[in-house]
Homo-oligomer: 441 residues x 4
């Protein structure tokens, strides 16, 4: 294809999950070499999870290569089959490689506090004035736009979109395996080789031959376990809570005209809603941690304390959140915190997580999820949960989990004993106390 | 033992290499919680290796827990045997956990440029005014000193020293496996469970029952392969060369009174030889990368270029170094670089690596290495290479490798074509050219 | 304990699943050395499964050592805890090691055709005149009886019984992992180390601390997948069908006074219901296969054909069994087979499998299964499915699968074309045909 | 290609070592279905090794599929490159699949005692009147002959021969990994994916690109370890000694006109040198073990005892063989055995093993081994040991190991105490005694 050349000699990256990542196209090789892509080396894949699972120090660079590699293997299977258009090969590969290019450090917390959106940045990096854009444009002026469309799911060929954004896509298959590998948990394994072997293109989505149903079941179960064991781990969420509160505090202090020893230069664009692409690209995890490091020495006691907590892993403890607590005791609890001279806005935090392990399509719902379809011997498609007892059993069952985070060691420290005792009486009424009993769960 | 309590409930960390890290002593748990130990989360185990093997993003925190765990298992095997003194259990565990506590970011380059030494800092952190020291002192006023002595190999009980510093110790056994796991290479595996099972205490060292000889051979071979495949990988060394040159440049600019846009506050103690413990502890990898990020925008073209190279992985290429080149062409080559207006001090660099995969004791040599001894059925000890043909074959064979690093894309850029051609003629005379042909080797 | 001595030096077996099997008691070592235990080397763990998954060639010897090893590790966890009686250690280990000692070759088919029962033989071997019995009696005259009682679940201490016979016991945990390892399927993995770490003795059963619930969920899912992917694989069942028909044919021929070239000496005890222990012990898989080998040359065309099919893996094909077929077409189908001169009793076979992946206790039901209980922080026990959404979802859901086996290549061979066409019309009416499309599924 | 059709749908076998075995050609599928190939399911890959490593129960069927799969992958790498002739694809695949088709049960012992040769039988099966031959002939009348020639290394295209018979071929690469997998040892792993990626066809052999040298070193080391840890394990050799002695005894008894209760029908062809193909094919491991089972009840005390030893794993013990023993004490030792009424010919056996881990070509030597060549960047070939220090170090070093086997428990039994004491005095003079201290290690 014009704009791309085959590399003279295939290049490979050694990868612990897929053994090797194979690069045969100059386009892909050059995309990896751009500064925007190299920047992903400075952004961890799992944000604060490394504070729970010390192995989870891998970055989005790592994962992006993995998604590319899985996409490459899917295309090998599709090659020559009906519905698959070989001309879209490099489009698929580029979209796979770049699908996370807009992520910043600790995206979840940044997005919550600053109302930003990594998907918006992904588009900006792909279509804006960047090295990535220059490389992509070799394939044609409209190629960057197409790549962005695939990632945003607005590309007309729904088959292509489904290969990177569906309930069983290259993205999910990589991260489940990769996150399991680096955390060391025994969940997250499934027979990807089998799934790829039975994946087939259809007019508007990638489907799975029915003979591979059990491998898909296993994948769904892995996903379920990874969510509750790793992604929603309460200790990780505690670190996330502290991180969010640091950002919230800095934002508030800035708005209040606080005089920083280490002014938040890299954050001002976020505070004022004026952040540009170049500034966004500079704000990686190293830079963020540099500030947290410095802010341990600020005068503001809340910022100082929260940063010390984050840097030295002195996290909040948690209890299972009790529904009736909200209604009856919440304002009393906040009041007691204030009386004990600790700001409840920063030190008494509810965090909720919920997951829908698998759902079939329900037209008209807010976030419609494309379900997984099986290709039957008679060529009809059947939605997975109609064939699998296991998936049917968990289908559409949303599980939600609420936790209340608070600084446990403060509760046991001297001063304000009376208020603290009342707080404890509220928090630790029988049977709610369910603290984690060890390092990472 | 006074000063330590058993934890009520064992705590564990999920670890990909040893499956679980088991913590049963409050002393160990509290050491892990100190800010000096948590700081190791911000220092990668393998420095610049992540630029070659993208999986190598694991930190010294990771490795330190692993060494502790292996030590714990060795002690389980030794427990109740002659020569083993159970009173030294916590000393061994503490030394294992803290043996790398003095490491800073990219230690190798920092030590070379600033004549510092992580072992000196290890002692400072253990015996100085730190949280680590406070925790250790619970075991007795002289306990921190003992831990430092074990790490420095001056502790009187040589058996204890050998468990953490010998040719087959808890440190090496962890890093070989861990680095193999995270890089994804297939070397680095050996049967540690078997080695531990046949390890025995003797009066002045830990030895291996002769029935475990083959497992030890396998370990020696793993070490050999990891050295040449991973630790001395030429691409990693290229990144290391650039890193050293950045530090050298900053030091020179500072000495010359250059006016930095982003002044090197955190480095000044190093430049002036006045760095204190607190300042040292602040200088982690995030802080270092923050400066590199900023210095991409300095006016000095060398600093700016080198930082951009490091951040965006635009590394130097290399050729095998040719002995006769030094004698005959070296000054000519430097002259040509200068004529072409590129500073050879920063852009023409020789790097050498050498390894002695296994050596037996040679009294009087500069760095005496304690050899591995086998415990024979008749209770005599035999030095490993006398029993193993394989080890004997490679014993004492020092292998050295010299490479010359240079900016390849500059050589092909416009301007000074004549000098560049002459440089190429010297560098690429027949048969020396042996460039790497792909991502990571 | 009298009757047993600790071995001077621990002995180990290298095991692919548990890495090492550790033997520290002379009693166990001597049990392994008995001829009855060594005989298990000649009986495959998974019967005819090797004809589907070629890796499944492992024997009951293999598995029995594995169950012993898991039991040993459970006891290590229980040691010193309330409810655990250290005096029952060797009883548990012996029962674990010997729980399958009564199995013969291809037990499933033999038991069906000859109305025998491996559990009855297990007791015979343990309490009868055998080497196993002699070794056990060193521990006391009633020790063999106790071992047999534990295996038969009649031993008074229900905690001990549950360790080897419950929904999560040493037996199941070994075979799931072992069968997965040897077949090579990616199911069957779960975090046994974690499960063992959180297993606790209670008054009448082993339970799991609630913090280990997810590991147990994963175990239940593994079991579910192994049942349908491996144990009930339709190709394995085809081989099983043929095996049963061989035994049925030999039995019939013997009853009819048929004159064998190779008389079924080793089977006569079964035919006549007079088989003794010594004869039973001789009938291992080698002996069985010797006869099948020989009977390929018998005159009886059915025996000859079935033996050739089994030896050369010329199995029956199958279709999903259709309920209405039984009512409407079954006798017609049999009639057509007879008209086409092939005996439907041997060549038209229905096989059914069904599994209940997890069930809680329902008093009064035919086969009561002891459910898995979680130990909550407040020390109460909770039945698993009340805490786990996943388990609750599949609880009590019996899945049954019926298949009809027939000789496909015969249907396409010349002769009796008219009948064969009518047979095909019945069998292959739309949508029922669901033949396996490859080697092993 | 005529004579072969692509299968409509690829068929796969689940394989623990290569994950999947992929079959795309009807020719290969049909070869696997022949009775001669199915017979390999009844012949263990590692003979008596299962008595040392209980996991080693895998068969030659297993291994043959693996060699086929590796060959298939090599061909994928070669496809389209110079020197590779696509027309020889099916020839290579067939030869890989069938290279061990002539093996009988426990080949090593059978060949030693009966002067037979599995390679001779391989040719017979391929070119004789067999199902294998019928399938092969579809590809042309001379195709079976060509397949036999490749296996016998007489085929003119030496590149093709080297792919299955060289120091680094599909056969060795499969068995090292497979035997490691099933025994569970941690040796035997190397990066085959990397080796295949850098394997290249040349005019007369497959070579390895020099960038893959370390992977090849690792392979050579694996081989070295597997030889001494698994293949030459002294316990396995003890079982082999007993097996050989059983065969020798039966042969002798038959020659002497002994009247067997269970006459050795299946062996007579061997005894009389008249064995035909059909008879050879019947003699699988089940049949052999059937006889051993029966002969436990013969009158001849030697045959009876040896068979009981083999069936119940009551093996001989061993001592390291002492050179001077032969010269000085050997006849005395034999004499003492005879005096103590035990036949030294069957109960006092020397067994020797030796291995040359890697050797380069030495013209004129008895068994010339084709060395491994590296393909250098300048396209020249370099023999491996000239580039690899590690391989050079062990090159040409033949290691030989002699052991003396004897029935230890007999030495300690009552009767002939005086002779037995003298025997012990000779055998256990200081330092020679080096008995294995556990099950398999």
């Amino acid at each position: 294809m014009e704009g791309n050349r085959k590399l003279q000699e295939e290049k490979v990256f050694k990868d612990p999950v897929h053994r090797y990542i194979h690069i045969r196209d100059e386009l892909i090789w050059d995309l990896i070499g751009t500064r925007e892509f190299q920047r992903l080396r400075r952004i961890r894949q799992l944000g604060t999870t490394f504070l729970t699972f010390h192995g989870a120090e891998h970055t989005r660079f790592n994962h992006s290569l993995g998604v590319y590699e899985i996409m490459r293997r899917i295309i090998e299977v599709f090659d020559g089959r009906e519905y698959w258009n070989g001309d879209e090969r490099l489009l698929c590969l580029s979209a796979a490689l770049l699908h996370d290019i807009g992520h910043g450090p600790f995206s979840h917390s940044f997005e919550k506090i600053f109302q930003t959106d990594h998907e918006w940045w992904t588009r900006k990096i792909i279509v804006g004035d960047t090295e990535v854009n220059q490389v992509l444009r070799r394939m044609g002026e409209d190629f960057p736009q197409k790549v962005a469309d695939v990632i945003e799911k607005t590309y007309p060929n729904k088959l292509v979109v489904s290969m990177i954004s569906s309930q069983i896509d290259a993205d999910r298959m990589d991260y489940l395996q990769r996150d399991a590998y680096y955390t060391g948990v025994s969940y997250g394994h499934f027979d990807m080789e089998r799934i790829l072997r039975v994946m087939r293109p259809t007019e508007d989505q990638a489907v799975i031959k029915n003979t591979g149903m059990h491998a898909v079941e296993d994948y769904i179960m892995s996903r379920y376990q990874m969510y509750w064991q790793v992604y929603f781990h309460p200790v990780t969420r505690s670190a996330e809570v502290i991180l969010s509160k640091i950002l919230q505090r800095v934002k508030t202090l800035y708005a209040d005209g606080y005089s920083f020893s280490q002014p938040p230069h890299h954050f001002i664009g976020f505070f004022e809603g004026t952040i540009g692409l170049e500034q966004y690209l500079q704000l990686d995890e190293s830079v963020t941690l540099y500030y947290f490091q410095m802010w341990q020495f600020e005068d503001d006691p809340i910022l100082k304390d929260l940063c010390q907590r984050f840097m030295n892993r002195r996290l909040f403890k948690y209890i299972e959140f009790d529904q009736h607590l909200v209604l009856n005791e919440w304002s009393r609890l906040q009041e007691l915190f204030s009386q004990a001279e600790i700001n409840p806005e920063y030190y008494l935090v509810i965090d909720s997580s919920s997951d829908l392990p698998y759902d079939f399509y329900r037209p008209g719902e807010e976030e419609e999820r494309m379900p997984i379809h099986l290709l039957m011997p008679d060529k009809r498609l059947r939605e997975l949960s109609r064939e699998s007892d296991l998936v049917e059993a968990i289908s559409g069952k949303k599980r939600t989990d609420h936790k209340l985070y608070y600084p446990a060691e403060w509760l046991d420290s001297p001063g304000h004993e009376e208020e603290k005792q009342q707080i404890k009486d509220i928090l630790f009424s029988p049977s709610e106390n369910k603290e984690a009993d060890f390092g990472n769960g």
